[in-house]
Amino acid sequence: MTVYLLRRLFQSLLVLVAMSVIVFVGVYAVGDPVEILISPDADQFERERAIRALGLDLPLWQQYLVFVKNALQGDLGRSFVFSEPALQLILQKMPATLELAFGAMFISILIGLPLGLYAGLKPDSPGAKVIMAGSILGFSLPTFWVGLMLIMVFAVQLGWLPSTGRGETLWGWSFLTANGLSHLLLPAINLALFKISLVIRLTRSGVRETMLMDYVKFARAKGLSPARVTYVHVFKNILIPVVTVVGLELGSTIAFSVVTESVFAWPGMGKLIIDSINVLDRPVIVAYLMIIVLMFIVINLIVDILYSVLDPRVRLEGQA
C-alpha cells in the first residue's frame, strides 16, 4: 500500500509540473494580459510600467522559474486583477462551490438511486419507461437553458425562490441558514439534473445485469426474500460503477460548474476561473488548475479505497 501511495504521489507531482508548464505556455500563446487589463488610454510608458509591475518583462522561462521558486515556498503568486494571493482568492470561493457540488450530488443520489433501482427491477412497467424517457431529457437539455427555465418558473413566475446569488451565510456556509438554503436549491437542482440521469442509467443497467447472475439465482433458489436479494446481494454489487462515476462527477462538478455558477450568479470558483481566463489572469488560472489536479488525485484515491470497502474481491487482490 505504501509503495502504491508513493507511486501515486510521484505521478501526481509530474502531472502538476506538466500542467503548470502547459498553462504558462498557453496563456503566453493566447495573448498579453497587460493589453487586456490596462486602460485603453494608457500611453506607452504606462504600458511598460504595468508589464514590469506584473513581472511580464522577463523571458517566459524566467517567469516560470520565479513561479516555481515561489511555489516551493507555498506562494502561488498574486492575481494580476485583484492583487490578492491567488490561493487565498480561490480558497475564499471554495465553500460556495463545494456546497453547491455536494448539494447536487446529494440530490442526484437521493433521486437517482431509487428511480434507477425501480427501473431496473421492473423494466417493462410504464413507470420505468417514464423514468428512462425523463433521464434522456436530463442528459440532453443544456444546463444553461434549464437554469434559465428554473429561474423563470420558480423565481420570476411563482416567486418561491430567489433568482440569483448566495444569500445569508453562517461561518461561510449558506446551507446552514434558511435564506441561504433557499438560494442554494435552484442551482443545486440545475447541476444535479445531469447527474440524476447518469445515476438512474448506471443503477438500472447494473441491476439488469446483476439480476441474471448465478449468485442471484442461487440466492433466490435458496428461498431468500426478494427484498433481501435486492438490497443485499444486488445493491451492493451495483454500487461499484456508481461510486466510481459519482466520484469523478463530483470532481468535475467542483471544478467546472461554470455555467450554473454564472447563470445563477453563484460566487464560486467556477465563476472565478472563467472570469480569470477572460482576462488572462495567469496566477489564478495556474493556482486553480493545480488545486483541481490535487483534488482529482485525492478523489481517485478515495474511490479506490471505497472499492475495497464495497467489494471484498478488490481487497483480496490487494493482499495477494
Binding site: 487586456i36 434559465l148 455555467v259
Partner: protein, 535 residues
C-alpha cells in the same frame, strides 16, 4: 467538461434567452421594495475598492460612491466642483485649486490640502497595479500647499488638461491611508473617503454593501442602504430584475430591449454615451496588406487601404442606420466622429457618412479597383454589444460594392493582442472617450510615438504630421474656446482623411422597476446616488 464549456456560447444563450423572457413577460411581476434600501446589479465585476489600483469603469463607479475628486463630473461628463470649489491658472504653467472647507472623511478626519498632496504621491506608487492612474498626475512637476485649503500645481509649460485629469483622481486621507495597501481597501478597512456612501461590507467580485454618509457635503442620496451586486451573465441579471430580486440593472442586453420597453412594470433610462465603435485600417504598409488580396487570392502589389478613395468607398458602403436599427436594436446612434452633439469639441457639420453603394463603386473604380478586391475583416465577439454581428453585416455591405469580405470574429483575449501587433488589415474596435477632443486624437489618431506617449492605441498606425502639429498646438492652449476650435480642425482633418471609419456611438441603457428613476450618465458609471424614487 467540453460539454459544459460549449454551453456558454453567446449566441445560443441569446437565442434561448428570448424564449425565457417571453415567458417572463407573460407572467405577473411582483415588486417588493424596502423603503430606503436599494438593491442594484451591475454587469461587470468591480476588481478592487482601492481607487488608485485599476483604472476600469466599474471600479471608478464604486470609487465615485465612496470617494470624491477635486473636479467631479455631471451626467453629461461636464466638469463640476467636487472637493475643489474653483480652479484657475495663476501663471501659464500653474493651476490653483481652492478646496472646499468643512469636508470630513467617513472617519471624521478633516479634508485639507495636505490630503491632496498625499494623494498625488500615492497614485504612481500602488504596487502591482495592472492599470495605474499615474498618467493623470505625471504632468504635475511640483505641488505647493499654499494654505490648508489652497493648492497650486505646477506643470512643464502650459497644460490645459489638468482639471480634466483631476476628474480621474480620487482623493484619500493622509492620516488614514499613509500605509494602506490595496488589500486594506478590499477588506473595507481603508475604504474611507468623503463620498456620499460608506462601505459596510465587500465580497470581491460578488457584492458590496453601502450605507449613506449623512455628513456628505453635496446632495444627500435617497438610499439609507445599498446592495451593489455583480451579476455578469446578461440573462441572469435581467431575470433578477424581472423576479424583483434586484430593482435596478445596467448594461441591458440589446436583444431584450424591445420586450423590456413594452413592460409597464419597468422603466428604462438611456443616454448617448461616449463610446464609439469604429473600424481601424492598415495604414503603414505600402505593399501587400496581410489580409487583402486580389479576386484570385493573390497578394496585391500595393496596399489599397492607403488610397483615400478606397477608404472613403469602404466608409460609404456601410449602411450605419441599418446596423443601428437591426443589429443594435436602436441602442446606438450612427456617427461620423468621436462625440455626440453637446460634448466639448464636437465637430459641427460632420454627420455620419451617407450610405451610397453606387458612389462607393465609382470611387473604387477611380482608384483602380473596378472589380474590387478581397479583404478579411476581423473583430472581437465578446467585447462590445453585438460586435460579431456588426462585422458580419459590414462584410455583406462591402461585398455588395465588390470588395469580397471574409469575416473573422474571435475572443477579445486573442484579438486584442493580434490587433496590437498590426496583424490585421481591417478590424472593428471600440473606444470610450473623455469629453475632450485631444483624448481620442492623442490615443487613436496621433502618430505612434513612444517618447510623447502618443498613439498607444493607434493600432492602424495612421500618421498625419498636420494633425500632430494641431494637437501640439491644442495641448499648449489654455483657453477652452480657442483649444476647442483647434481640436475641431484636427478632428475634421483626420476624419475627412478617413483615419478610421466611425460606425456608431453606443447608447447607455439602465433598466429599473417602475418605482425608480435614474439620472443617466454618458460615462457609463452606475452609481447609487443617481437612482431616486419615482414621485
Amino acid at each position: 467538461m467540453s460539454r459544459r464549456f460549449r454551453g456558454l456560447s453567446g449566441e445560443k444563450i441569446m437565442a434561448w434567452k428570448g424564449v425565457a423572457l417571453a415567458l417572463a413577460g407573460a407572467i405577473g411581476l411582483s415588486a417588493p421594495a424596502t423603503a430606503q434600501t436599494l438593491t442594484m446589479a451591475v454587469g461587470a465585476p468591480v476588481t478592487s475598492l482601492d481607487p488608485h489600483f485599476h483604472q476600469l469603469s466599474p471600479n471608478n463607479a464604486v470609487a465615485a460612491m465612496v470617494f470624491d475628486r477635486l473636479v467631479n463630473t455631471d451626467g453629461q461628463a461636464r466638469q463640476v466642483p467636487g472637493l475643489a470649489e474653483s480652479w484657475s491658472t495663476v501663471a501659464p504653467d500653474t493651476w490653483e485649486f481652492k478646496l472646499r472647507r468643512g469636508v470630513r472623511f467617513h472617519n471624521g478626519n478633516e479634508f485639507t490640502a495636505e490630503d491632496v498632496a498625499f494623494t498625488f504621491r500615492r497614485v504612481p506608487n500602488v504596487p502591482n497595479s495592472p492599470s495605474s492612474f499615474a498618467a493623470f498626475v505625471r504632468p504635475i512637476r511640483e505641488v505647493q500647499v499654499v494654505d490648508s485649503h489652497t493648492i497650486r500645481l505646477r506643470t512643464d509649460g502650459p497644460y490645459p488638461l489638468l482639471p480634466q485629469d483631476m476628474t480621474n483622481v480620487y482623493i484619500l486621507d493622509r492620516e488614514t491611508h499613509e500605509n494602506a495597501t490595496t488589500e486594506d481597501f478590499n477588506a473595507g478597512r481603508a475604504a474611507v473617503g468623503t463620498g456620499p456612501f460608506r462601505v459596510v461590507s465587500h465580497r470581491l467580485g460578488d457584492r458590496i454593501e453601502f450605507e449613506r454618509n449623512d455628513e456628505y457635503f453635496g446632495d444627500k442620496p435617497h438610499w439609507q442602504r445599498v446592495n451593489y451586486r455583480m451579476i455578469v451573465n446578461d440573462s441572469a441579471r435581467t431575470a433578477a430584475l424581472l423576479a424583483g430580486d434586484v430593482e435596478f440593472i445596467d448594461q441591458v442586453p440589446t436583444a431584450d430591449l424591445a420586450r423590456l420597453r413594452r413592460d409597464d412594470r419597468l422603466y428604462m433610462s438611456e443616454v448617448t454615451g461616449l463610446r464609439i465603435i469604429y473600424l481601424s485600417l492598415d495604414h503603414p504598409r505600402e505593399e501587400a496588406s496581410p489580409f487583402v488580396t486580389d479576386n484570385n487570392g493573390q497578394p496585391l502589389p500595393r496596399n489599397p487601404l492607403r488610397d483615400l478613395r478606397v477608404r472613403r468607398a469602404l466608409s460609404m458602403a456601410i449602411d450605419r442606420q441599418a446596423i443601428v436599427d437591426r443589429v443594435m436594436e436602436g441602442a446606438a446612434t450612427p456617427s461620423g466622429q468621436f462625440f455626440p452633439p453637446g460634448i466639448f469639441s464636437y465637430v459641427p457639420d460632420l454627420p455620419a457618412p451617407r450610405f451610397d453603394a453606387e458612389g462607393a463603386r465609382r470611387l473604387l473604380a477611380e482608384a483602380g479597383f473596378p472589380q474590387g478586391f478581397r479583404i478579411t475583416l476581423h473583430g472581437p465577439n465578446d467585447r462590445y454589444p453585438n460586435d460579431g454581428r456588426i462585422i458580419q453585416a459590414i462584410g455583406q455591405m462591402w461585398t455588395r460594392i465588390g470588395v469580397r469580405t471574409a469575416v473573422e470574429a474571435q475572443p477579445w483575449t486573442t484579438f486584442v493582442a493580434r490587433a496590437g501587433r498590426q496583424e490585421f488589415s481591417a478590424f472593428l474596435i471600440g473606444w470610450g472617450s473623455n469629453p475632450e477632443g485631444s483624448h481620442p486624437l492623442r490615443n487613436l489618431i496621433a502618430t505612434f510615438n513612444r517618447d510623447r506617449g502618443w498613439g498607444a492605441s493607434n493600432r492602424g498606425r495612421y500618421s498625419n504630421p498636420e494633425v500632430d502639429a494641431l494637437l501640439i498646438q491644442a495641448l499648449g492652449t489654455i483657453n477652452d474656446g480657442e483649444r476647442e476650435q483647434i481640436l475641431i480642425r484636427a478632428q475634421r482633418m483626420a476624419l475627412e482623411d478617413v483615419a478610421i471609419i466611425p460606425l456608431h456611438i453606443q447608447t447607455n441603457i439602465w433598466a429599473m422597476r417602475n418605482h425608480l428613476r435614474h439620472d443617466s450618465r454618458a460615462d457609463e458609471l452606475t452609481r447609487a446616488q443617481d437612482v431616486k424614487p419615482a414621485r
